[in-house]
Each structure stands twice: as C-alpha cells, then as structure tokens.
C-alpha cells in the first residue's frame, strides 16, 4: 500500500504529476498554483520524469502549447489559477472542441478586480461552459486522487475531452495535511499507456487539425461533443470503482453526507464542505435531520443523480463561493435545474460566501442551518439570494 505523508495540496498535485509522468507540460506560474510547476520543474531537472517542460511566456501560450502537444500525440498536463485560466479561456474551448484530453489542475482563486490572490471558485465557474470535464476536490487527498482518475476519464475512448481538477487556493494548496500516496508503479499501471488518435507526428498519415467549419457542419460537431460529455458520468463511476480497488478510497459523482433521511440539505463545494460537515454533526446530535451534498463532478453536471439524492429534502441551502452578478450563484442554478427537471419542488435559498478567500467559519454554517430550519418550519423564504460573512 501507499505511504502516508504530511504535504501541501500543491505538493500532492506535483507528486501525482510525477507519478503520471506526462510527455509534455506547458505552464506559466501564477499564485497559488505556482508551487505545482516549481516542484514539477525540479522533478524534470533531476530526471525523475521524462517530461518535456515548456516554460511558456503566458497562460494563453501554455494552453496553446498543450493543444499542439496533445494533437501531436501524447499525454499533456498543466496547472493554473484565476487570471491564468481567464487568459486561457479562448484556448479552453479549442482544446475541448478538438477533443484533446489535456489534464489540468486548477487551484481555485478569485478573479480580478479588485486583484486578490486567495481562494474562491470564480475561475472554475467562469470556465464551466468551455467543454472541459470539471472535478472538484475537498482536500489534498481528493485532489491527488481526482488528478490520477482524471487522466483515465479524459483519455477514455468514449470521452476524449480535456479535464480540470479543482482545489481551493491556499486553504488546500498551501495547507499541510496528512494524506496517502499510491506507489509509483500502481499509478503507472492504473493510468496505462496514452493512445493517440490522429497524431500530428504520424507524418505518413497527415491530418488537418482545426479546419474552418461553417454552418453546414458546426452544429454536428457540437452535438458529437455533447455526446462525449454524456458518457462522462458512467466513465467517472467506472474509473472510481477501479480506483477504489487500488486505493481503498471510494468516489462517486458527488458525496452525500448524512443525507438519507435529511429534511434539510446544504450543497457546498470543496474545502468548505469539511467545515459544514462538522457543524451538521452538531445539529444531528441535537436531533435536526440535516445533511450535505458535495458535488465532485460539476461538468458534466449529474442532474438526475443529484435530484434523486435530494428528492426527499424539504429545504435546500446552496452555498456558492462564486458570483454570477445579476444572477444566482452558479451552483444554485444547477441545483434548481436539477430539482425542477426532476419535478421536485423544495424550498431553496442561495448563499454567497467566502469570495476572495474570506474564511468560511462554523458559525456561518450554523447560521445557514438555523435559517433553513426556520424556512422549513414557516414554509417561507425571506431572501432568495444573500451574501453571508459580509460586513454591513
């Protein structure tokens, strides 16, 4: 079995990348993901990986080089955060449209302005429509496990789509926690060999990548991409099952915590879920039936499964660490869609929390649960969308 070590989230990601040993990595440093590539550069310099590291001059070029490298016919990885992802935005669509299974770690950080280097999910949510698979991670262990599984998911023959693994900036990327690493050989065996489709480097069979597609074919290609996305859920579960065999850790499309008999549910992503779970335990001890749903796969979003998991809940509080100014938080919109299309009609509220790295404290979770209880008792929602942990 693997060894247990106390590491930062970034260190865990760098270790996973060392074990995955991709053919090409193209990256540009940005806080808080910088450490990932720094550590990885050291692995390259020490000959611990066979990767060609391309230290590009911007994130736009990072993703462009990843696209070129992936189309050339090999395994490609990168990492970024925030503004870096925003600068890549154009190329994110191109990676997915070209069906290139690039795997990226996104260390979540707020988007400017005002400039802020701390963790929230505006970067990830801002790229949710770019055609990438998105896996969110509560802690370093999950980020490590997700990254290894993401290789298999992205490269699966029925998928062939890029994937990003998200974890919270600083809260996870820079905090030390104890986690378990798999042996190198186990990871190597688990991910297997990369199987290229139409590699550019096959000069005997020249292919054209990135042609101009006019209205006569464009929508057909998007339909095909949608189909590939629709296979992801099954592949995620299949890969998770195999991963459990090598790790003993089980993963699904989302995590349900004390949800089976719950009247009240909190939906929350990433690191804040840990805090919320502790508070839920306290309320459970007091007899309140409250549970939690922590999405793991955000793109494609598992609407049916989430709706089923929340089907018997009376009140749902959806907590978003990202804004869609002028709209509900992105997670709220997904949960509302899931419930509506399932024919459920729970009472729902949306709380915006933790933007720009503001701590999510137990008292925040406590206040939300108290309010959800009040809504359940009165049947009335006072404010649909509201900021929490904010000074007046």
């Amino acid at each position: 079995m693997g060894k247990k070590l106390a590491v930062t989230g970034n260190q865990a990601i760098a270790e996973a990348m060392r074990q995955i040993n991709p053919d090409v990595c193209a990256a540009y440093p940005i806080t808080p993901s910088t450490e990932v590539m720094q550590r990885f550069a050291a692995f390259v310099a020490d000959g611990k990986v066979g990767t060609e590291l391309v230290t590009v001059e911007s994130e736009h070029s990072a993703m462009s080089a990843c696209i070129g490298a992936s189309a050339a016919g090999g395994r490609v990885m990168t990492a970024t955060s925030s503004q870096g992802l925003a600068l890549m935005w154009e190329m994110l669509h191109i990676a997915s449209g070209m069906r290139l299974p690039v795997v990226m770690t996104l260390v979540n950080r707020a988007l400017s302005a005002p400039i802020n280097i701390h963790g929230d999910h505006s970067d990830g949510m801002g790229s949710r429509d770019c055609g990438w698979i998105q896996l969110y991670s509560e802690n370093a262990q999950e980020a490590y496990d997700n990254l290894i599984q993401a290789i298999r998911i992205a490269e699966h023959e029925s998928v062939r789509l890029p994937a990003m693994v998200c974890m919270d900036g600083f809260i996870i990327s820079h905090s030390i926690e104890s986690m378990e690493f798999l042996p190198d050989e186990t990871v190597k065996e688990f991910i297997g060999e990369f199987k290229p489709t139409h590699p550019l480097l096959d000069v005997d069979n020249p292919v054209t990548y990135g042609p101009l597609v006019l209205p006569d074919y464009f929508i057909e290609f998007k339909r095909a991409q949608h189909e590939a996305m629709s296979h992801v859920k099954d592949v995620v579960l299949e890969v998770a099952k195999e991963f459990e065999k090598i790790s003993g850790r089980s993963y699904g499309l989302f995590e349900s915590y004390r949800l089976d008999d719950a009247d009240i549910a909190i939906v929350i992503l990433n690191s804040a879920a840990g805090t919320a779970k502790d508070v839920i335990d306290v309320f459970r001890d007091k007899g309140l039936k409250v549970g939690l749903l922590k999405p793991r796969l955000f793109r494609p979003f598992p609407y049916e499964e989430v709706a089923q998991a929340l089907a018997n809940v009376k009140v749902i509080g959806v907590l978003d660490r990202a804004e869609s100014l002028g709209g509900f938080g992105p997670m709220f919109m997904e949960i509302a869609s899931a419930m509506m299309t399932n024919g459920s009609n729970p009472l729902m509220v949306n709380k915006i929390y933790g933007l720009g790295g503001r701590d999510f404290m137990p008292e925040h979770a406590e206040a939300v649960i108290n309010e959800l209880k009040e809504i359940m008792d009165t049947g009335k929602v006072k404010v649909l969308k509201e900021y929490i942990g904010v000074r007046e």
Partner: protein, 314 residues
C-alpha cells in the same frame, strides 16, 4: 542528397499544397507556401495562425494540406508549434519516434507582428527547433484590409482610411525582421516569392539550423494593395528593386545582404502601381512620398553600413 534548387528538378517533387483552396485569385500566400514546402527535404508538420491562408485552405470537409497541419487560434501559431515540437522531443527521447521531422509555423502579419508577437517572441527565446514564416501582406486582409503594424506609412486601409484630413496610415511599419534578429536566434531572413531561389535557399538554411529560425516573406494581396491579380510577383520584385523590402539574412547574428540592385529604383515605382497609395499622388501629399523615400533610404543605408562592418572584420 537534397534536390537541386532548379525548377526542373523541383517540379518532380510532390506539391504539398493542393489546388482547390479558396484563397483569392492571384494571392501571394499559397505561392509562398508551395515554395516553402518544395524546399523542405524532410517531413514537416505545420501550425497556422488564423488568417486568410488558414481559413481558405481548410474549409471543412476539405483541406489543401498534404502535410500534418494544425490551426488552433490567431495569436498562437508559435506557441502551438512549440507544443508539437516539445511532444516530438519527448517521444523521441522515449524511443517512441525515430524519424527526423521539422516544424514550421505560418502566420500573416496580423498573427505575427501584432496579436501573435508575444507568442512568437516567447517561442524564439525558448529555442524550439522551429521555423516561423510570416507572410506579410501589410494589413489584416482576412477581416477586410485593416491596418496592422506592418502596414506602410501612408497606406489606405479600412481602419487607416485616406480621408480629407488624415492621409492614410500615419505611422511607418514596424521592422519585425530586425526585431527577430535582435532575439539572437540562429537564423533570420527576409525574402519574397518572386525570388524563389532566394526564398527556398533561406527555407533550407532555416530548416537546417538546430534551433529557431524566422523568415519574413513579403506577400502581395491584390485586394488590399489594390492591384490587378496578375502582378503579384511583379509587385514584390519592385519592392526589392526599390529597396522597400531588401533581401537579407542573419546567420548566427551576422548580416548578409543577398541582393543589391544595380540601380535602386525610386520608391514611387513601387507605390504608384498600388491603389492603396493612390491618394499620395494627389497635390499636398508630396511630403509623405518624400518621407517614405527617406525611410527606405535610411533602412537600406543602415543595412549596407551594418554589413560593411562584418566585411571589414573579414
């Protein structure tokens, strides 16, 4: 043994850009691409920046390319080909590929001088074994003749129109070839498709070096230059005869002028055949013509001076 640079011998090679592409009649870009690919003696993989050449040669489900080719976006041909070349290096090191392959990026002046400038500079600095070929027709022709930093002083474009107050583009063009030379890369050159042997010699040198190379190729655009479709080659020859576009190269930092006109023609010879400069021949704009001549003379004299420094060294 490489194919001698004689048309009779070269014509026996396979054309790697087919007809049936949708570039305008008389376009300079495909002439350049054909010559580049005919010059190459090893398999090449190409990246292409968004632009006329890219859209017109790859209208789905057709491709005019017989080589592996990738277009991803506008500003990043250099970064895209960097990635392809990096994968080649990685797979070669791992023993998964053993052939010699070379890498070329094509971009217009928009994708090279302007929006793709950072990506180009980065790729050159990183030392990838790639050849970047800019086909410079002096404006954003693909979107309808908007000015670029390669547009010459005084040119009438749709975003630097010759109006009643402003007589076309107010700024001289950026000298990208010199900027690339300042990167200290092993090979930088400037040429035209009219000088096919010069172009092909330069492409071979660029492909032969171990590291990055840049070639700036003047391409005429009938739509943007407001010229007839049949003068594409004639116009680029005039650019060289007037020293508007000198043929020169930097091999390991050392300048060589490849052609010196016996009698340098006045710049108006180049300008007067092109509709984009028509307004400069109206009364009141004489000073612009003079200014353009001054700029051409200054660049040419600077090149001669620079070259003479090396010949003094011996």
């Amino acid at each position: 043994m490489s194919t001698p640079l004689r048309l009779k011998e070269l014509s026996k090679k396979e054309d790697l850009l087919t007809g049936g592409h949708r570039l305008c009649s008389g376009c300079g870009a495909p002439i350049i691409v054909r010559q580049v690919l005919l010059a190459a003696e090893v398999p090449v993989v190409a990246a292409n920046a968004t632009g006329c050449l890219e859209v017109s040669t790859s209208i789905f489900p057709y491709t005019a390319w017989k080589i592996p080719w990738i277009h991803s976006a506008f500003e990043n041909a250099a970064a895209t080909i960097s990635g392809v070349e990096a994968m080649y290096k990685a797979l070669k090191r791992k023993g998964k590929i053993d052939r010699k392959i070379k890498f070329i990026a094509f971009g217009g002046d928009g994708g090279t001088y302007d929006i793709g400038f950072q990506s180009l500079s980065g790729a050159m600095e990183r030392g990838h074994d790639i050849v970047y070929i800019c086909y410079d027709n002096g404006a954003y022709m693909n979107t309808g003749i908007q000015r670029s930093s390669a547009t010459p002083l005084g040119a009438n474009t749709t975003t630097s129109p010759a109006g009643s107050v402003i007589p076309g583009k107010l700024q001289p063009r950026k000298n990208l070839t010199k900027i690339m030379a300042a990167h200290g890369i092993p090979y930088v050159a400037q040429t035209t498709p009219a000088h096919w042997r010069d172009l092909m010699t330069k492409v071979r040198k660029a492909l032969d070096v171990d590291g990055p190379a840049f070639i700036n190729v003047l391409a005429s655009c009938n739509r943007g230059w407001r010229t007839p479709t049949n003068t594409t080659i004639q116009d680029t020859k005039l650019a060289v005869e007037t020293c508007y576009w000198p043929l020169y190269e930097y091999e390991n930092g050392r300048l060589k002028i490849n052609y010196k006109p016996k009698e340098k023609k006045p710049i108006v010879e180049f300008l007067k055949t092109q509709g984009r400069f028509k307004h400069l021949f109206s009364p009141g704009n004489e000073h612009i013509l003079e200014k353009i001549q001054e700029l051409v003379d200054a660049e040419w004299e600077a090149l001669l001076r620079e070259e003479s420094l090396y010949s003094e060294e011996g």
